[in-house]
Subunit: 227 residues, 6 copies
């Protein structure tokens, strides 16, 4: 009945080409292309400036104060994966540091998304191992209780299935279901191509009011100009 | 009865020379010169390192999850203005991104102060468009509900009238009522000129206890030294 | 009965050699060597990038909105000290700025740890005076009420006695009781020496599961692999 | 330049009949009749179950950890007033207890709205002196610094002018500008009279979808029913 | 690609007998019987004392500041359902009040779980319509944007599928997947039956140390008794 | 070096007569008599209305998500004790429920103060076992990691030594060091005896301004009355 104590070995990862395409697009644009869904809560922040991640999710469900399952997860990582770690309760302990990062990086992981804390942040930056987390906290953890690997988790308010695409940049973290990766990547790319033209118009002084034809609906909604 | 659905076109902006003078002074000093009033709450932070703003306020009252009034505000911007956006409720959605920034910048805006979220932060930094906000959030907004432009708003705990001077740096955001701009600028400048002398004394090892003649009042208040 | 209104002049500082040794080790490692105790809460963050502190504590107990005791503390600073400021209640006012920093620096202080707010952050960075705080806030304070200097305080959840070693880096702030400084420094150094070998193994692709011999206890705890 | 250190004695209170009428209407309804403006933030809660207040505002601007101005405010209270206390910074100290409540009650005050903490809550309930606050905190305050009485304040995000009507019940706290008291009271009363009929329809099983004729606009917006 | 703008009419509700059985068991016990999974975050609290809910979920995905979909959801309610409302972003507006409660109650709903705010709390208590929410807030909402009804949502950190059993009492809110309802109900009932015996032993003075045979593993873990 | 894994059996409890006297006095008054020190943070709240505790502290240091040490603590309880539980990190799991309460009550404990979560709140109320906590949370915990019993802890920001007096009522939680119990009890009782006279004066309409002779210092501080 429980999803604790389980490691799923075979997961279906999103299409690699779609992942690469998503990796070249910003999180805000992908989120728009998703119909404004799939974002994690904004408390998830990069632990160092310039961190950026795109890859397929290996999920981990942690227990508070315990990072045992991180080691179990390491074995399930394939090149191009991102580890996404949720916790059964709110906890900001430092579940992850430079040794685990070394191991994850050796397995080919592109980064970590964790609804908890991490440490050794200077070393992570030197290694070029990007992490988005809820907190930075030197507090260590134990290895005593089972969670799970590659089960569906809720991380910072978003549902993540193993194999989903996870993209993170300075604007936040977005999850794209594996089955939608190609469609979302195409839609997001199309959105981007439209933006250049809009940007040029706005830069020339054209108002959004006119470019988007907002004056009439604003008046209809009752907007009044006074002096 | 309501101040929703209103755009005030003619506002009285603070004196330009006073604004320029305030732009050369730190927020902490201006706040002291104001009698320690006018500060926004400390959760307002620059979205990129080194951001700094000084200008006259064009105010916007937003609805949660809706940035329609940002486009209405764009038309009211004059060179030297800062857009100050409040919301009718607490909401951290990404009300503002690079397209709006392009439009605001084209109109001459010097930056944005927003009691909510923004996105496209990397692009904002590349553009040199400074923003101070409550959050960074990729979450997009709709354009469906009326707020107002150039009404008095409460932004991050501070009252802002259209035309007031708003100064933001790494220490926070301070609002100087338009009518007091010149007086505050003069008082702040005077405070700064005193600081050099004090700094030199303290750097030479003189104690504040002696420089400010605190020993007597401390003793009177009952301070006891023990070994 | 109260510890308000008291300045203790003679305090026993931790052994200087132990302090220097601790200054070369990361906070996370020291905290491990302490048996995972002594950390402040993770809301304590450096006010500028790269800040790092290690020294002996001169403690201050502040009243909300009042920094009078900071001036009293300045006189108690000896070269190599770190000022650790707690408050009798939660308060994020800007208790500290560049003038006090100049005075503290002239006395030989290595930095400030404060469970409250500070200001003049750009100037602090220029001066190279590192600060870890709960907030950055331009709000000034008064000088009207007595607190204490060099009494035991609780700062961000950690007990700090005058003379204890305080180490702060990007991962957080840890307090080492003066009497344990040498032992902790030795234990922490030993931990570090073990890490290089582990890191090399993990970098070569060896799994923590094998290196730490976790497979058997995981199975005993009931971990199940499925496909 | 500052509004600190000022006591305004003559204020224009809202019309007494309008105040009484507003006192019989719920906060949610008044807020609707105001065009959805004027609410304080939802962290303002009654300190005991069943507390409810309606009266005209005597405003106080406090300094953190200091309740001196509460005593100054007491003298300005007239029967039917509500004291509305803001603070120059975020602070949850216990600014108010049973002795001040006794004094306020003797002057005819109907209650207290405070963006800070209070104490002696059991005694406040026994006295029947309602308070809405941000916190309950036994921490006492000093009497050392000037704030102001009867200046415009921002309390929990809402602007309050002396003399405005303040209404508080379990749903929150709303501020009605004195000049609008009669109009808002009338509009709110009218809203209430409509609610009985709507409630009866909904209770009989009629859906809001039909009663408010929402089916067509929902379809136009693209709502799709699937099985 | 999006799950916005969708209403699913046919959902598979958990077995009615299992729901009734779960309704007689406490949330903490059910959560244990689930393997310690399925809980919402602890900020979800009853809006009045004594509120308790058990029923099958009709889910709603709301937009910030907009309760249009609540009316759409009303039509999908069947007797015994509980409405579970999530939001696409963090927002504490008052999405729900006594009129909607009247409508929901007329359709047979047993209560509301909402990751947002509600109002008319006194009236909700008088009606006996239990609500668990993140906030109480008088702030009203508009009806302008589409969300969805009966899609999978994340509410206060927990995944809820339409038809799942939701149980709420003073200890929190737990979600039982529809397919596991009977198994969990049986397991929870069994847990309860064991508790009486344990309680009697503990009440007689037997220690948990002995009843659970903890002395040996504690010693093995290194616990030391000192005098 | 560590204080983890230790149980101290012999502790010096505060004088029983002093404890009884403190039990008849409110927390706010005791805190005043302490010189405004010793309070826990205001997020500590009673889990049911009317809860009140006074007794001598048996302290527990917990690990996140683990309540093993609660069982160890039970054995150290003597009649008249209050268990005070801190945690090595921030964690709101439900560390305590009705079974542990039954055991604690059988040992003579008067209640629990916990910087974490508890559950079975309805049952705790029925049993008359008062608890003050940071959260109510159904989330269960494991029994796997050592903490300590009867070491000095920091609980909700206050230092608590084993044997100290802890008093909790609706206004908060205060800690009185064992050695000061009699002195504080006497001072607090004296304060209370003065309050009756003051209350009578204030109730008769005398202003605090006059009773406390504040008019002169207010004028000296620069207070100005305007019309």
């Amino acid at each position: 009945m429980s999803t604790l104590g389980i490691v799923k070995r075979n997961i279906t990862r999103a299409d690699a080409a779609a992942v690469e395409k998503l990796g070249r697009i910003g999180v805000a644009t992908i989120h728009e292309a998703m119909g404004r869904l799939g974002l994690m809560k904004p408390y998830m922040r990069p632990v160092y400036r310039g961190a950026r991640i795109c890859g397929t999710a290996v999920t981990v469900l942690l227990q508070p104060g315990d990072n045992w399952m991180m080691h179990v997860a390491a074995e399930q990582i394939q090149p191009g994966d991102v580890v996404v770690a949720a916790c059964t309760t709110e906890n900001e302990d430092g579940f992850f540091g430079d040794l685990l990062a070394t191991s994850f990086q050796a397995r080919g992981a592109r980064g970590l998304i964790i609804d908890g804390g991490v440490r050794d942040v200077d070393e992570l930056e030197r290694m070029g191992f990007p992490v988005f987390s809820k907190a930075i906290h030197a507090k260590g953890t134990i290895k005593a209780t089972l969670g799970s690997v590659n089960v569906t988790v809720v991380c910072a308010g978003a549902i993540v299935h193993p194999g989903d695409v996870v993209v993170a940049d300075v604007d936040g973290v977005v999850v794209v279901p594996a089955a939608q990766a190609q469609t979302v990547a195409d839609a997001a790319e199309k959105r981007e191509s439209f933006e250049g033209e809009k940007r040029a118009k706005l830069a020339s002084g054209v108002l959004g009011l006119d470019m988007y034809k907002m004056r009439e609906p604003l008046a209809a909604a009752g907007l009044k100009y006074i002096d």
